[in-house]
Structure formats: C-alpha cells, structure tokens
C-alpha cells in the first residue's frame, strides 16, 4: 500500500505535468489557463445541469425523480466504458516506464494497480461534468436529508471503478490477441474495430431487450437488478437512504477492482513483454529499390507513421468507417431504419439535409493533423534536419487527413446518393462540401498542433486523447458546425437550403485560403521554434 502511494504520487505528478503547472513563469498565462479550464468545466457542468433539470421535470410527472440520477449514472458508466477501451490498452501496455518499474522492488500487482488508478483519474472527468451537476440539481429540487450529500460523494468516488475495469478487460483482450500477431499495429486496429462493432451491436440489442421489457410490463427495477446491480444499489441508497445498499455499492466496486488485479496480474507482464518484443529475423536480400519524389517520400512516411499507431488510427478513422458502414447498410435497409439509427426526425430534415449534416459531422470530427506534429515526439529532429521546407512537411500531414477521409467519404456519398435518389448535382455538391470542410479541418488541426505541440509523452494516448491541440481541433470544429447551423436558422426565411450550402462552401473556401496564409507565414516560423 505504501509503495502504491509512492508510485501513484510520482506518476500523477508526471502524467499531469503538475510541476510545469506550478512552475510556470508567466503567472498571467497560468491564471488565464486556469480560468479557461474552469470556464469550460463550468459551462459543460451547466449544460449537464440543464439536461438533469429536464430529466427531473419529466420524471417528476411519474413521481420518480430518482430516475434522473439512475439514467445519468448509466450514461456516465457507458461513456467511461466505451471511451475507455482504446485508452485502457494504451495506458496499461504502452507506457514507457514499465521496464524501469519492473527492475525495482515493487510488486507487479502494485504497478498494475497504479496504472489502473491513474486511468481512473481521467474517468473522473465525466463524473464531475455530468454526474455531479445531476446530484446538485436533484438536491435543489427534491427534499433531501444530510446523509444524501455523504452518499452522493461516495457514489461519485466509486462510480468509475466498474466501467474502468470493464474497459480494461476489453483492453486486455485486445492486447492478448494482438500480442500473438506479427503485425501488431494492424492487428490491434482490426481487433479494436471488431470489439467496438460487437459492443455497438450489443447496445442496439440491449435497447431491443429494454423495449421488450417495457412492452411486456416487466418492472424496470427488476431488470436493473439483474443487469445493472451496482446502479440498482446506488438507486436504492438514494431513494431509501439505505446504508446497506451504500455498503453493497462500495463493496461491489472494491471487489471488482481486487478481483481484476488478482486475475489479470498473472499474465500482465507476459503480454507487456510480448508486445514490446521485437528482433531482427530475416536476412535481407538485396533488391532494386524504388525511388520517390521528396513529396511522395514525405507522404509515405506520414502514412506509415499514421498506421503504426493504433490509438491514432482508431481515434481519427472511426467516424469515416461508420459512415461507410452506414452507406453499405443503406443498400439493405430502408430510409426509416437509417433515420432511426441516426436518431433524426424525417419530418424536420430532408434526406439531402440529413446527409449534409452527417457528412459535416464525420468530416469535422476527423483530424489526424491535430496530433501529427506532436506524435513526431523525440523524432522531430529527423524532419527538421531534412532539406525539405516546412510547407512540404505541413502538406504531407494535411494530405494524410485528406487521404483517410476523402476516398471513403466519396464512396459513401455515391452509395447513399444512389439509395436515397439524390440528384447528380446534389451529389457533386456533397463531395465538394466534404472536400472543403476536410481541407479546413486539416489546416485547423495543423495550426492547433503548431500552437500547442506535445512532444514529450509516455504513450501516444496522451497526445491523441488528452492533448490540448486535439481537444481544440475537435471542440473548435464542433463550435464551427454549431455556428454554421445557427447561421442557417437565422437566414432560412430569406435563403433556400441549397443556396445556403453554396454560400457556406464559399465561406469555407475563404477560410481555407486564410488558414493557408496563416500556415505559410506564422506556421513556418512557429515550426522553427518548436
């Protein structure tokens, strides 16, 4: 326990750059950063509180206010689990510190427990942003006893444990399967997609099971008692102020953690070592080497780099793959199914509008460039010392994002257009729209990454999932899309949707031009300073 605390303290300071935070010479910048983070937390917490209030109002009609907390707890647990699958493998098995720790007199189970606790720390983010506001809203509108606050704190503390463990189990399974493969990165990407596919299939079927339960008047609580016992204990604690239920909730979480460490400890190092093992094996047979132009060589290098980091691929390509799956599915299912999968209302949106919305979302969320400079890491010197211009480097990175998005998007658009009887002109507009947005997103990612590079990291997950530039790229684009939609609602009385899209594409082209100038002037100088 003592060693666990020593290790946790050290890795926590290291993982979250605590030293840098408090040794910052620019106090104004530090205060600004703290305010910005607090503002974002406050804003997201406020949005969660609004949703919690809406849910509370809905459940008040049935005198089931406590269901607000139950639903929020399920949502938080699901998000921790699903988002944690990719992270878990990277955190447990791809950390650089494993070797040095294994040479120290620290038990393997302590090393593993520390990694999981560090992973769990990240998972408190959705707990604080979503669950805490729900508890606060509940306490404001529903009369509660003093013990409610103690129980809420305990629930907040233990809530991420089981979803984190479940994510780790899947992460373990992926690591175990891929460690046996020669092409580990490719195997990891494929196996991860298969697992995520299975989870998505299961979640669709769980909805079906839920529907069946409701249709057959099966008590929701009974169902929860069977499928989600910890959440059931949590609910009972809140509704009945039941101490036994509270203790059960805590016990289940502690047991889950202990059992996981006990069971998986035995083959943790085996997998870790197998994943980290590489050796020269084949005798090189001399053959004629192909030559490439400088730009092509840079692009090939960027593509190889991209596909060699599974977490990078999974984090960026997922939306595009889903778009393709949806396009292929549209051949076999009718429009109604596609609408219901996307949870869109056909009375509010035409098929063309739906496709624009869908493609805009997928393309805006796919930004490999927001991490590509950071991921050069210690190897940045290689491209910096090469006789190539900064613009060539940026171009190769932007091209990667275009190549991972556009071919699949074009195929998907054509398939969807064929199924939904979209005109050739509209299809062409969709392709042009996606291309302009893709270019805009790619450039924006490069700018964000140039501004906030993270070249020192223990695992690529710190860049791809937790890097400031990746965060800015995704949230920046979300705000950008929201602004586009807001503008449409402001002008829709005087402008048709078709004309609006044309104007939007014009605006995108202008932004692309401006960003190009920014990259060529500021970006080049900034890159020299990194």
């Amino acid at each position: 326990m003592d060693k666990l605390w020593i290790l946790f303290k050290t890795t926590f300071i290291d993982n979250y750059n605590i030293n840098k935070l408090f040794s910052s010479k620019n106090k104004l910048k530090l205060v600004g950063m703290i305010f910005l983070v607090l503002f974002i937390i406050g804003y997201l917490g406020f949005v969660s509180a609004i949703y919690a209030k809406m849910a509370l109002d809905f459940f008040s009609k049935y005198n089931m206010q406590y269901m607000t907390l139950t639903i929020f707890a399920i949502m938080v647990s699901m998000s921790i689990f699903v988002l944690g699958i990719n992270k878990s493998k990277a955190i447990l098995f791809n950390s650089k510190d494993s070797e040095i720790l294994f040479s120290m007199p620290i038990k393997q189970s302590t090393i593993m427990a520390n990694k999981i606790i560090n992973f769990m720390i990240i998972n408190y983010v959705p707990v604080v942003l979503v669950m805490l506001p729900a508890f606060v809203v509940y306490s404001i509108y529903v009369p509660v006893q003093v013990t409610y606050y103690i129980y809420s704190l305990l629930i907040l503390l233990f809530l991420p444990v089981i979803p984190t463990i479940l994510a780790c189990i899947i992460g373990y399974a992926i690591a175990y399967i891929t460690s046996k493969s020669k092409r580990k990165s490719l195997a990891e990407i494929l196996v991860s997609f298969i697992f995520i596919g299975i989870i998505m299939y299961m979640s669709v079927n769980i909805q079906k099971i839920g529907k069946t339960l409701v249709e057959n008047n099966v008590d929701f609580e009974k169902a929860m008692k069977i499928f989600l016992y910890p959440i059931y204990s949590m609910q009972k604690t809140i509704v009945e102020y039941n101490l036994i239920s509270m203790l059960m909730f805590i016990l289940i979480n502690i047991l889950a953690f202990a059992i996981f460490i006990l069971v998986f400890n035995s083959f943790y190092r085996k997998i870790l070592l197998r994943l980290g093992t590489s050796w020269t094996k084949n005798k090189y047979v001399e053959k004629t080497l192909n030559s490439s132009s400088v730009d092509m060589a840079l692009l090939k290098k960027e593509l190889r780099n991209y596909f060699s980091i599974p977490i990078y691929v999974l984090n960026t390509i997922f939306g595009v793959v889903l778009l393709l799956v949806l396009a292929i599915a549209s051949i076999f299912y009718d429009k109604g199914v596609i609408y219901s999968v996307l949870e869109l209302d056909p009375t509010m949106l035409s098929v063309y509008q739906m496709l624009i919305l869908l493609i805009a979302f997928v393309v805006a969320m796919t930004s490999s460039t927001s991490s590509s400079i950071s991921l050069e890491g210690d190897n940045l010197w290689i491209i910096k010392s090469m006789p190539v211009s900064q613009r060539q480097i940026f171009r190769s990175k932007i091209l990667v994002n275009i190549l991972i998005v556009m071919p699949v998007t074009i195929v998907s658009i054509i398939l969807l257009a064929m199924q939904f009887n979209i005109t050739i002109m509209q299809t062409f507009k969709l392709i042009l729209f996606s291309f302009l947005l893709n270019l805009l997103v790619s450039q924006f990612g490069i700018i964000a990454n140039l501004k906030y590079p993270k070249l020192k990291f223990k695992s690529p997950v710190q860049v791809v999932k937790q890097g400031l530039s990746a965060f800015i790229a995704i949230f920046g684009m979300m705000i950008f899309l929201a602004l586009s939609a807001f503008t449409y609602f402001q002008v829709k009385s005087v402008m048709s949707f078709d004309n609006f899209i044309l104007c939007l594409m014009g605006a995108y082209a202008i932004i692309v031009g401006i960003q190009h100038l920014v990259i060529c002037k500021w970006g080049v100088e900034r890159f020299k300073k990194i």
């Binding site: 050290t10 030293n19 840098k20 070797e99 294994f102 040479s103 120290m104 020269t280 094996k281």
Partner: protein
C-alpha cells in the same frame, strides 16, 4: 554475489536470444560484458534485473533465485538502462526522492548520497529543474545517481558511458572502482573496450546468444589488446 546458471532466453517465435550461458561475479568484482549489437547483452541484463522472464536456467543474487524471490533480489540490485527513459515531468530531486522511497532509503542517507553524487557529477544545481529540460547526458547522470543512493550490492549497467562527457565518464569509473573496493559487485556491458580492459577483473564475450569467452581479463586477452582479441573472436559474422 551474481550467479547465472545455464541461462537461455527464447522469444515466442522460437528465436534463442541467449543460449545456455553461465557467469559468476563475486563480491568486489567488476565484470565486463561485450559483444556486437544484437548479440544478447541487453537480453541477459534484462533477465538479471527481472524485466524479462527466461525459460531455462536460473539467476541467483546473493544465493537467492530471481525467479523465486524477485522482490528481495531487486532490493539488492541497481539497474542503469542503456536509454534513460524516466519520468520527464518530475524534477530531478523528485525522481531521486521517488527512487529513495521505493528502496526505503532513510532520510539522512538519501540526503547525504544525493548531495555527494550530484556534486560529483556536477548536476546538483539542476536538481530542482524538470527532467524534460535535461540533456541526454544529464539524464544519464541522474539515473546513475538514482542507482547509487540505495547502496546496492550489485550494480548492473547497460552501456553506462553512452552520452556522458569525459569528466563524468571518469567520475563514473572512479566511483565504480571505489564501490568495488567496498565490496559491491558490478556487471556492465559496453562497447568501449579500452574501459572494459582497464576496469574489469573478469570479462565475457557473447556472440549470437552464446558465451564464446569468459574468464579473468588477463587470461582472455593474454599479451594482445582486448580489441584485437574481441575482433578475432567475433569475426565471420
């Protein structure tokens, strides 16, 4: 102090990285381990310090098997890897204090030894800085200091002189000799054959996982230089 008995390490695809090697390093001895790149030096070292599992043979530290008593064995060892991959976001002193905590070094000893070695390696003034701001050589010095502050009985070093400036390399050699005279055993791999020749009581030459020479330095090199002997023994692939 260190006894390697018929050690073999086979990777999962059947590649035998270390093939039936036996080495003994007594208290107060310095052992030099040399070989080409990929010969099996680092695999052997990682097996000794408990990073890698091994299939055949055993390794004993102070008569304790590393397989049966891994934690007790590790308490007696200090390991300096070939690449100082350490917690970059800690300050130097935080890292040293972390190591001292893990090895349960008492406050007075850690204070004294950190000061002593940090001054010897001339990085005392930088201990409050974040490690990511250190040069490669400074990181290497920090790792060396971290290995010395818990007074190990066996020091295992993988290419310790890489990245060190001439003065630091000289200081390290001096410290190694000093600690050996106090009874510590040292096992190190290096490509700097002049240093191995001057410093080591015993040497081992490894080639494609097999120990092709092992014994007292003087017996192995005879009248020739170690460089000549090594090149002769390891030629033809």
């Amino acid at each position: 102090m260190l006894k390697i008995q018929n050690l073999s390490k086979i990777y999962s695809e059947g590649k035998k990285a270390v093939d039936n090697i036996s080495i003994e390093v007594k208290s107060g001895e310095i052992f030099g381990f040399i070989g080409h790149n990929g010969a099996g030096k680092t695999t052997t070292i990682k097996s000794i310090v408990g990073i890698l599992d091994f299939e055949e043979g055993d390794i004993y530290i102070n008569d304790m098997s590393v397989k049966e008593n891994p934690i007790e064995c590790k308490k007696l060892i200090a390991y300096i890897p070939d690449n100082p991959d350490i917690y970059e976001q800690l300050t130097g002193i935080q890292y040293l204090n972390f190591i001292a905590d893990v090895y349960e070094v008492d406050k007075l000893q850690r204070q004294d030894l950190i000061k002593k070695y940090a001054e010897q390696f001339e990085i005392f003034d930088n201990l409050g800085d974040i490690i990511s701001s250190y040069s490669h050589g400074m990181k290497q010095k920090l790792v060396i200091i971290s290995a010395l502050i818990h007074k190990p009985k066996l020091l295992i070093l993988d290419e310790p002189f890489v990245g060190l400036d001439p003065k630091a390399a000289f200081t390290l050699k001096q410290i190694m000799e000093e600690l050996c005279s106090e009874g510590m055993s040292i096992f190190f791999s290096s490509h700097v054959l002049e240093v191995v020749e001057k410093l080591c009581h015993k040497i081992g030459i490894i080639k494609q996982g097999k120990l092709i020479a092992y014994g007292n330095t003087d017996d192995i090199k005879g009248d020739k230089s170690l460089e000549n002997v090594f090149l002769e023994m390891t030629k033809n692939g």
